[in-house]
Symmetry: C2
DNA sequence: CTGTTAGCGCATTCAC
DNA sequence: GTGAATGCGCTAACAG
């Protein structure tokens, strides 16, 4: 099959074969080293030579191979963000994840890194590790909803830098995580409701396969602490486990309110919060006149809901910045200094009222 | 500074230095070639040897270098997703982008690729190109809200595979994009409203710096087509430009409804739709009794709103799948066959009623 | 200021 | 079935 040729090479070759540093060197009548110097802005190149190289670069359309550079330098400039497949599949509704994702991405970009999205279909440590180990990234941020304690040691063993978004391990040597002060969050919300004379409340917490998501344990402890301080007995069935999806949440709320009449709800999960508000709309409950609601999560989201939601919110931008900072420090081998998490904030809006 | 040694190397060295194929070869008393064969599942290795290699791999904790493999093979298994910085910063509210992102990521993962998030702070072609050219990826998906015609030729010139999410260029040779049938979408929505006896409508379209976002032109044409068929004059001030952010949208809707009394709204943008619904809630408008609303965008989102929104929805999963398919075909050099876009769907729910 | 040399880790020839 | 040799594209150390 004949093909039109150009400069002695076929069109296809020209099209496919990207010029290398070698081609540029040849064209500019210098050696690859010099080209490399020019490309990297070394000052020790004679202006004339530099210009010759630059011209060659331009006429050839030379772009340095990123893979070769990575290979040589041992750094990729990439941070892997590892999430469960479920996280991604619920992205549309999961404002909490969106907020983290946004903050992480913006911070990484500002530090000159890019984010590579990795998912593990199964939420167990093995799957996460298998996904991670075959990926190119200078380090990994792991967002896992379940307790993957063994993953930390596998990564440690393999010498792979990582940071978790929560504390999984009780081993005091495991310090590579950023947490939020969930005990305080639960405490603040419950105390506020108790101050408003609500005692018959429900704390709706996300669960995976019936297991309460780890940070919720802390939030529950915070709630109990508040009840303790007020000398009011806390009943175990104040805790309601709900799977995090929209439909299931809606149905579970429905079922709950058919049989019980709490005066206030604390909802630990954004999706369930939206589902609950929708349920109240559909069934004519007035918030806060008939029932008070406190959400946990991004303030921006809750301000865009109707009614404007009273919420306990964390500074996601701050926490995500810390995650990236810590990971970069690990990558660079700088010793880590643990900082206590920033306190959450109680933002009082229109979804809570005094219980008469 | 003394340090505990182990096998003659310091702990730090062991910790830092990852074993290479060479180390494994030495330990297993074979050559790197054999290790490579084992790692790549070649069948021509004697079981005994294979086992020896596997043991060495395990005891050393050897993980093949991904960068070296990329470098050698020339493929990264990464697809770059290039978006404007604004896209990311509005991620929390921008359900349309979330839907695309989710679909793209899931499809890429199912094809064995990962998504690398790239952002360009400026929305012009130069910035996009600069971001792209220095990144490792086998190809790029470009989600840009503005018309970046020259970007296509720059990428073409550089031999970088790409796919756009919309048609930017009028050059018939530029075929690397996936579009949606926006004319049909505008037409369907307007026709439905006209059938419900609404003629005094407003079509709220997103704009960037006063310029209507490109696909909206098609939607507007569709609306005009419907008016034409019904022989009803279409007034230019039926088109209302609104910046896509939550606050601005809310204020603009407020301003609009203070002075005018349309019977129906078509809203081309998810964020503005939520803002409008919030405005109606706050000011006591009943939807659809006082005003009808049609949204454009992900059906899932609109079903989770109250009232349930009538909407024109595209099959994002399908379109995103096509984007990835097309990009992979380009990467592999398979000739592209253009397909017409799937028709959008009019989903009638509770936000539209007959105008009396 | 510029050229020469060497090697990053791996996979793919080609011998044996 | 296994080993030896080679080179992907680039940069850094060392000469000159």
């Amino acid at each position: 099959m004949a093909s039109i040729t150009f400069d002695g090479t076929s069109w296809e070759e020209r099209k496919i074969k990207k010029p290398t540093i070698h081609d540029v060197a040849e064209k500019a009548k210098v050696t690859p080293s010099t080209v490399s110097r020019v490309m990297n802005g070394s000052s020790l190149v004679k202006p004339i030579t530099r210009q010759r190289v630059l011209d060659a670069v331009k006429s050839l359309g030379y772009i340095p191979s990123k893979t070769a550079r990575m290979f040589k330098s041992g750094k990729s400039g990439i941070l892997g963000l590892v999430v469960s497949a479920q996280h991604i599949s619920e992205l549309i509704f999961n404002a909490g994840f969106q907020a983290i994702f946004k903050a992480l991405t913006e911070k990484a970009h500002s530090e000159g890194y890019n984010i590579l999205i990795l998912t593990s279909s199964d939420p167990d440590s093995e799957s996460f590790f298998n996904v991670i180990k075959n990926q190119v990234a200078d380090g990994f941020i792991i967002l896992s909803p379940s307790n993957n304690e063994s993953l930390a040691s596998m990564l440690e063993e393999a010498g792979i830098p990582y940071v978790f978004n929560m504390k999984y391990s009780n081993n005091p040597e495991d310090i590579y995580y950023i947490t939020s002060d969930d005990l305080e969050a639960g405490y603040m919300a419950a105390k506020y409701l108790l101050d408003l004379n609500h005692t018959d409340i429900r704390f709706i917490v996300g669960s995976i396969k019936g297991n309460v998501i780890s940070f919720n344990h802390e939030r529950i402890n915070g709630v109990k602490k508040a009840y303790g301080e007020y000398g009011i007995p806390f009943k175990d069935d104040y805790i309601v486990r709900v799977p995090g999806q929209m439909e299931e949440s809606y149905n579970r709320i429905h079922q709950l309110l058919q049989t019980q009449k709490p005066t206030a709800l604390m909802i630990s999960n954004e999706v369930t919060t939206v589902a609950a508000l929708n349920y109240f709309y559909d069934y004519g409950y007035r918030v806060p006149q008939d029932i008070s609601v406190i959400g946990f999560g991004p303030s921006d989201l809750y301000r865009s809901l109707r009614p404007n939601l009273t919420s306990v919110s964390f500074d996601i931008t701050h926490a995500s910045g810390k995650i990236v900072d810590m990971l970069l420090q690990r990558i660079e081998g700088i010793p880590i200094k643990l900082e206590p998490p920033k306190k959450p904030e109680l933002i009082i809006r229109d979804s809570t009222a005094r219980n008469i």
